[in-house]
Subunit: 158 residues, 2 copies
Protein backbone atom coordinates (compact mmCIF):
# COMPACT_ATOMS: atom_id res chain seq x y z
CA UNK A 1 0.00 0.00 0.00
CA UNK A 2 1.37 3.41 -0.90
CA UNK A 3 2.45 5.55 2.02
CA UNK A 4 0.19 8.26 0.63
CA UNK A 5 -2.92 6.16 1.36
CA UNK A 6 -5.16 7.82 3.93
CA UNK A 7 -8.31 7.12 5.86
CA UNK A 8 -10.05 10.47 5.76
CA UNK A 9 -12.93 10.99 8.12
CA UNK A 10 -14.42 14.43 7.81
CA UNK A 11 -15.11 16.35 11.02
CA UNK A 12 -18.83 16.20 10.14
CA UNK A 13 -18.67 12.40 9.83
CA UNK A 14 -16.83 12.07 13.15
CA UNK A 15 -19.42 14.26 14.89
CA UNK A 16 -22.28 12.24 13.37
CA UNK A 17 -20.59 8.99 14.44
CA UNK A 18 -20.30 10.28 18.01
CA UNK A 19 -23.82 11.66 18.17
CA UNK A 20 -25.14 8.39 16.68
CA UNK A 21 -23.55 6.48 19.55
CA UNK A 22 -24.84 9.09 22.00
CA UNK A 23 -28.38 8.53 20.70
CA UNK A 24 -28.05 4.81 21.52
CA UNK A 25 -26.77 5.70 25.00
CA UNK A 26 -29.72 8.07 25.53
CA UNK A 27 -32.15 5.26 24.63
CA UNK A 28 -30.34 2.99 27.07
CA UNK A 29 -30.66 5.55 29.89
CA UNK A 30 -34.35 5.91 29.09
CA UNK A 31 -34.89 2.13 29.07
CA UNK A 32 -33.86 1.81 32.74
CA UNK A 33 -36.55 1.87 35.42
CA UNK A 34 -36.05 5.05 37.47
CA UNK A 35 -34.72 3.39 40.61
CA UNK A 36 -32.57 0.80 38.82
CA UNK A 37 -30.78 3.52 36.85
CA UNK A 38 -29.32 4.86 40.08
CA UNK A 39 -28.90 1.66 42.08
CA UNK A 40 -28.69 -1.49 39.97
CA UNK A 41 -25.42 -3.05 38.93
CA UNK A 42 -23.78 -6.44 38.39
CA UNK A 43 -20.54 -7.62 39.99
CA UNK A 44 -20.10 -4.55 42.19
CA UNK A 45 -19.70 -2.20 39.21
CA UNK A 46 -21.13 1.32 39.06
CA UNK A 47 -24.85 1.83 38.30
CA UNK A 48 -25.59 3.11 34.79
CA UNK A 49 -26.37 6.65 35.97
CA UNK A 50 -22.75 6.96 37.14
CA UNK A 51 -21.42 5.65 33.84
CA UNK A 52 -23.60 8.15 31.96
CA UNK A 53 -22.28 10.94 34.18
CA UNK A 54 -18.72 9.84 33.33
CA UNK A 55 -19.58 10.37 29.66
CA UNK A 56 -20.93 13.86 30.42
CA UNK A 57 -17.82 14.72 32.43
CA UNK A 58 -15.66 13.77 29.44
CA UNK A 59 -17.55 15.18 26.44
CA UNK A 60 -17.92 18.96 26.77
CA UNK A 61 -14.92 19.40 29.11
CA UNK A 62 -12.77 17.70 26.48
CA UNK A 63 -14.19 19.83 23.67
CA UNK A 64 -13.53 22.93 25.78
CA UNK A 65 -9.94 21.81 26.22
CA UNK A 66 -9.53 21.03 22.53
CA UNK A 67 -10.85 24.44 21.53
CA UNK A 68 -9.39 26.70 24.24
CA UNK A 69 -6.50 24.55 25.59
CA UNK A 70 -8.03 25.23 29.02
CA UNK A 71 -8.54 21.75 30.51
CA UNK A 72 -10.11 22.88 33.78
CA UNK A 73 -13.83 22.38 33.06
CA UNK A 74 -15.43 19.41 34.77
CA UNK A 75 -18.97 18.81 33.53
CA UNK A 76 -22.31 18.84 35.36
CA UNK A 77 -23.12 17.71 38.90
CA UNK A 78 -24.85 14.34 39.33
CA UNK A 79 -28.64 14.43 38.85
CA UNK A 80 -31.15 12.75 41.15
CA UNK A 81 -33.76 11.66 38.62
CA UNK A 82 -33.87 10.06 35.19
CA UNK A 83 -35.67 13.09 33.75
CA UNK A 84 -32.90 15.34 35.06
CA UNK A 85 -30.20 13.06 33.61
CA UNK A 86 -31.95 13.06 30.23
CA UNK A 87 -32.15 16.87 30.34
CA UNK A 88 -28.40 17.03 31.03
CA UNK A 89 -27.87 14.57 28.18
CA UNK A 90 -29.88 16.67 25.73
CA UNK A 91 -28.13 19.86 26.82
CA UNK A 92 -24.81 18.09 26.24
CA UNK A 93 -25.94 17.01 22.76
CA UNK A 94 -26.71 20.62 21.86
CA UNK A 95 -23.48 21.92 23.39
CA UNK A 96 -21.39 19.35 21.48
CA UNK A 97 -23.09 20.44 18.26
CA UNK A 98 -22.46 24.10 19.11
CA UNK A 99 -18.79 23.64 20.02
CA UNK A 100 -17.81 21.21 17.25
CA UNK A 101 -17.67 23.69 14.33
CA UNK A 102 -15.41 25.95 16.42
CA UNK A 103 -12.61 23.35 16.61
CA UNK A 104 -9.76 25.12 14.80
CA UNK A 105 -8.81 23.72 11.41
CA UNK A 106 -5.85 21.36 11.72
CA UNK A 107 -6.43 20.88 15.46
CA UNK A 108 -7.51 17.24 14.97
CA UNK A 109 -3.96 16.27 13.99
CA UNK A 110 -2.19 18.15 16.81
CA UNK A 111 -0.86 16.35 19.87
CA UNK A 112 -1.85 17.74 23.27
CA UNK A 113 -1.82 16.64 26.90
CA UNK A 114 -5.51 16.40 27.78
CA UNK A 115 -6.31 17.45 31.35
CA UNK A 116 -2.57 17.56 32.01
CA UNK A 117 -2.43 13.79 31.88
CA UNK A 118 -3.11 12.06 28.55
CA UNK A 119 -0.87 12.88 25.63
CA UNK A 120 -2.22 11.94 22.22
CA UNK A 121 -3.41 13.47 18.96
CA UNK A 122 -6.75 15.27 19.31
CA UNK A 123 -8.51 12.80 17.00
CA UNK A 124 -7.19 9.99 19.23
CA UNK A 125 -8.61 11.72 22.28
CA UNK A 126 -12.06 11.98 20.70
CA UNK A 127 -11.76 8.35 19.59
CA UNK A 128 -10.96 7.37 23.18
CA UNK A 129 -14.04 9.16 24.49
CA UNK A 130 -16.29 7.41 21.97
CA UNK A 131 -14.68 4.00 22.69
CA UNK A 132 -15.06 4.56 26.43
CA UNK A 133 -18.78 5.27 25.97
CA UNK A 134 -19.25 2.14 23.82
CA UNK A 135 -17.34 0.06 26.38
CA UNK A 136 -19.29 1.18 29.45
CA UNK A 137 -22.58 1.26 27.56
CA UNK A 138 -21.97 -2.44 26.78
CA UNK A 139 -22.02 -2.86 30.56
CA UNK A 140 -25.39 -1.10 30.66
CA UNK A 141 -26.76 -3.55 28.08
CA UNK A 142 -25.94 -6.40 30.49
CA UNK A 143 -27.60 -4.57 33.39
CA UNK A 144 -30.80 -4.23 31.35
CA UNK A 145 -30.73 -7.91 30.28
CA UNK A 146 -30.15 -8.92 33.90
CA UNK A 147 -33.28 -6.88 34.73
CA UNK A 148 -35.20 -8.73 32.03
CA UNK A 149 -35.44 -5.63 29.82
CA UNK A 150 -34.70 -5.70 26.06
CA UNK A 151 -32.01 -3.06 25.31
CA UNK A 152 -32.23 -0.80 22.24
CA UNK A 153 -30.41 -2.23 19.21
CA UNK A 154 -26.65 -1.48 19.12
CA UNK A 155 -26.59 -1.00 15.35
CA UNK A 156 -29.39 1.56 15.13
CA UNK A 157 -27.75 4.98 15.44
CA UNK A 158 -30.73 7.01 14.20
Amino acid sequence: MSSTAQVVITPDALLEHWQGHRRVTRRLIDAFPEDKLFTFSVGGMRPFSELAMEFLKMSVPTLNGIISKDWSSTGPAAPKTKAELLRLWDADTAEINRLWPTIPQGRFQERDVAFGQWEMPIYGLLWYIIDNEIHHRGQGFVYLRALGIEPPPFYDRS
Copy 2:
Protein backbone atom coordinates in the same frame (compact mmCIF):
# COMPACT_ATOMS: atom_id res chain seq x y z
CA MET B 1 -14.64 25.41 10.44
CA SER B 2 -13.42 25.32 6.88
CA SER B 3 -14.93 22.61 4.72
CA THR B 4 -11.35 21.58 3.87
CA ALA B 5 -10.70 20.48 7.45
CA GLN B 6 -10.05 16.76 7.71
CA VAL B 7 -9.51 14.12 10.31
CA VAL B 8 -6.81 12.00 8.75
CA ILE B 9 -6.16 8.62 10.27
CA THR B 10 -3.45 6.75 8.43
CA PRO B 11 -4.10 3.10 7.57
CA ASP B 12 -1.21 2.19 9.91
CA ALA B 13 -2.84 4.10 12.79
CA LEU B 14 -6.22 2.44 12.14
CA LEU B 15 -4.60 -1.02 12.12
CA GLU B 16 -2.72 -0.25 15.35
CA HIS B 17 -5.95 1.03 16.96
CA TRP B 18 -7.75 -2.19 16.01
CA GLN B 19 -4.92 -4.48 17.10
CA GLY B 20 -4.64 -2.54 20.37
CA HIS B 21 -8.29 -3.28 21.08
CA ARG B 22 -7.77 -6.90 20.00
CA ARG B 23 -4.92 -7.21 22.52
CA VAL B 24 -7.33 -6.15 25.29
CA THR B 25 -9.88 -8.70 24.05
CA ARG B 26 -7.22 -11.44 24.04
CA ARG B 27 -6.35 -10.63 27.67
CA LEU B 28 -10.06 -10.80 28.52
CA ILE B 29 -10.42 -14.24 26.90
CA ASP B 30 -7.36 -15.42 28.81
CA ALA B 31 -8.70 -14.06 32.12
CA PHE B 32 -11.76 -16.35 32.00
CA PRO B 33 -11.61 -19.69 33.78
CA GLU B 34 -11.75 -22.43 31.12
CA ASP B 35 -15.29 -23.61 31.85
CA LYS B 36 -16.77 -20.14 32.43
CA LEU B 37 -15.50 -18.92 29.06
CA PHE B 38 -17.82 -21.37 27.33
CA THR B 39 -20.75 -21.43 29.74
CA PHE B 40 -21.03 -18.34 31.94
CA SER B 41 -23.22 -15.39 31.10
CA VAL B 42 -25.48 -12.81 32.71
CA GLY B 43 -29.10 -12.11 31.77
CA GLY B 44 -29.36 -14.93 29.24
CA MET B 45 -26.72 -13.41 26.95
CA ARG B 46 -24.11 -15.39 25.03
CA PRO B 47 -21.01 -16.70 26.86
CA PHE B 48 -17.81 -14.78 26.04
CA SER B 49 -16.42 -17.57 23.83
CA GLU B 50 -19.35 -17.00 21.44
CA LEU B 51 -18.78 -13.24 21.42
CA ALA B 52 -15.08 -13.79 20.67
CA MET B 53 -16.05 -16.10 17.81
CA GLU B 54 -18.34 -13.38 16.45
CA PHE B 55 -15.29 -11.09 16.29
CA LEU B 56 -13.31 -13.76 14.42
CA LYS B 57 -16.16 -14.30 11.98
CA MET B 58 -16.18 -10.59 11.20
CA SER B 59 -12.47 -9.66 11.04
CA VAL B 60 -10.72 -11.67 8.31
CA PRO B 61 -13.90 -12.35 6.28
CA THR B 62 -14.47 -8.58 6.14
CA LEU B 63 -10.86 -7.91 5.13
CA ASN B 64 -11.17 -10.57 2.43
CA GLY B 65 -14.29 -8.83 1.15
CA ILE B 66 -12.65 -5.41 1.25
CA ILE B 67 -9.63 -6.64 -0.69
CA SER B 68 -11.22 -9.07 -3.18
CA LYS B 69 -14.89 -7.94 -3.17
CA ASP B 70 -15.69 -11.60 -2.53
CA TRP B 71 -17.83 -11.55 0.63
CA SER B 72 -18.30 -15.31 0.91
CA SER B 73 -15.68 -16.22 3.55
CA THR B 74 -17.04 -17.05 6.98
CA GLY B 75 -14.25 -17.41 9.55
CA PRO B 76 -13.17 -20.37 11.68
CA ALA B 77 -15.32 -23.05 13.33
CA ALA B 78 -15.98 -22.75 17.08
CA PRO B 79 -13.18 -24.13 19.29
CA LYS B 80 -13.71 -26.37 22.31
CA THR B 81 -10.95 -25.09 24.60
CA LYS B 82 -9.52 -21.75 25.68
CA ALA B 83 -6.11 -22.69 24.28
CA GLU B 84 -7.68 -23.44 20.92
CA LEU B 85 -9.60 -20.12 20.95
CA LEU B 86 -6.39 -18.24 21.78
CA ARG B 87 -4.60 -20.02 18.92
CA LEU B 88 -7.39 -18.95 16.55
CA TRP B 89 -7.10 -15.42 17.96
CA ASP B 90 -3.35 -15.26 17.36
CA ALA B 91 -3.70 -16.67 13.86
CA ASP B 92 -6.33 -13.98 13.19
CA THR B 93 -3.95 -11.29 14.48
CA ALA B 94 -1.26 -12.45 12.06
CA GLU B 95 -3.70 -12.76 9.15
CA ILE B 96 -5.07 -9.23 9.76
CA ASN B 97 -1.49 -7.90 9.72
CA ARG B 98 -0.77 -9.83 6.52
CA LEU B 99 -3.91 -8.71 4.70
CA TRP B 100 -3.96 -5.07 5.82
CA PRO B 101 -1.16 -3.74 3.58
CA THR B 102 -2.88 -5.32 0.55
CA ILE B 103 -5.97 -3.10 0.91
CA PRO B 104 -5.91 -1.13 -2.36
CA GLN B 105 -5.09 2.56 -2.06
CA GLY B 106 -8.26 4.63 -2.00
CA ARG B 107 -10.41 1.63 -1.00
CA PHE B 108 -11.05 3.05 2.49
CA GLN B 109 -13.18 5.84 1.00
CA GLU B 110 -15.19 3.62 -1.36
CA ARG B 111 -18.74 2.56 -0.54
CA ASP B 112 -19.55 -1.13 -0.81
CA VAL B 113 -22.30 -3.53 0.28
CA ALA B 114 -20.56 -5.79 2.78
CA PHE B 115 -21.73 -9.41 2.70
CA GLY B 116 -24.51 -8.27 0.36
CA GLN B 117 -26.25 -6.53 3.24
CA TRP B 118 -24.55 -3.50 4.78
CA GLU B 119 -23.84 -0.53 2.57
CA MET B 120 -21.30 1.94 3.91
CA PRO B 121 -17.84 3.32 3.23
CA ILE B 122 -15.09 0.78 3.87
CA TYR B 123 -13.64 2.85 6.72
CA GLY B 124 -17.13 2.87 8.30
CA LEU B 125 -17.30 -0.90 8.01
CA LEU B 126 -13.97 -1.31 9.81
CA TRP B 127 -15.11 1.21 12.39
CA TYR B 128 -18.29 -0.85 12.94
CA ILE B 129 -16.27 -4.03 13.50
CA ILE B 130 -14.07 -2.31 16.08
CA ASP B 131 -17.09 -0.72 17.82
CA ASN B 132 -18.88 -4.07 17.89
CA GLU B 133 -15.86 -5.68 19.56
CA ILE B 134 -15.65 -2.90 22.17
CA HIS B 135 -19.40 -3.18 22.82
CA HIS B 136 -19.50 -6.94 23.36
CA ARG B 137 -16.17 -6.96 25.17
CA GLY B 138 -17.75 -4.53 27.65
CA GLN B 139 -20.23 -7.36 28.28
CA GLY B 140 -17.31 -9.68 28.96
CA PHE B 141 -15.94 -7.23 31.55
CA VAL B 142 -19.23 -7.58 33.46
CA TYR B 143 -19.10 -11.37 33.24
CA LEU B 144 -15.62 -11.35 34.79
CA ARG B 145 -16.66 -8.94 37.56
CA ALA B 146 -19.72 -11.10 38.26
CA LEU B 147 -17.28 -14.02 38.63
CA GLY B 148 -15.20 -11.97 41.08
CA ILE B 149 -12.29 -11.65 38.63
CA GLU B 150 -10.52 -8.34 37.95
CA PRO B 151 -10.62 -7.63 34.19
CA PRO B 152 -7.58 -6.24 32.32
CA PRO B 153 -7.54 -2.44 32.11
CA PHE B 154 -9.59 -1.00 29.24
CA TYR B 155 -7.12 1.81 28.57
CA ASP B 156 -3.99 -0.36 28.22
CA ARG B 157 -3.71 -1.33 24.56
CA SER B 158 -0.10 -2.51 24.70
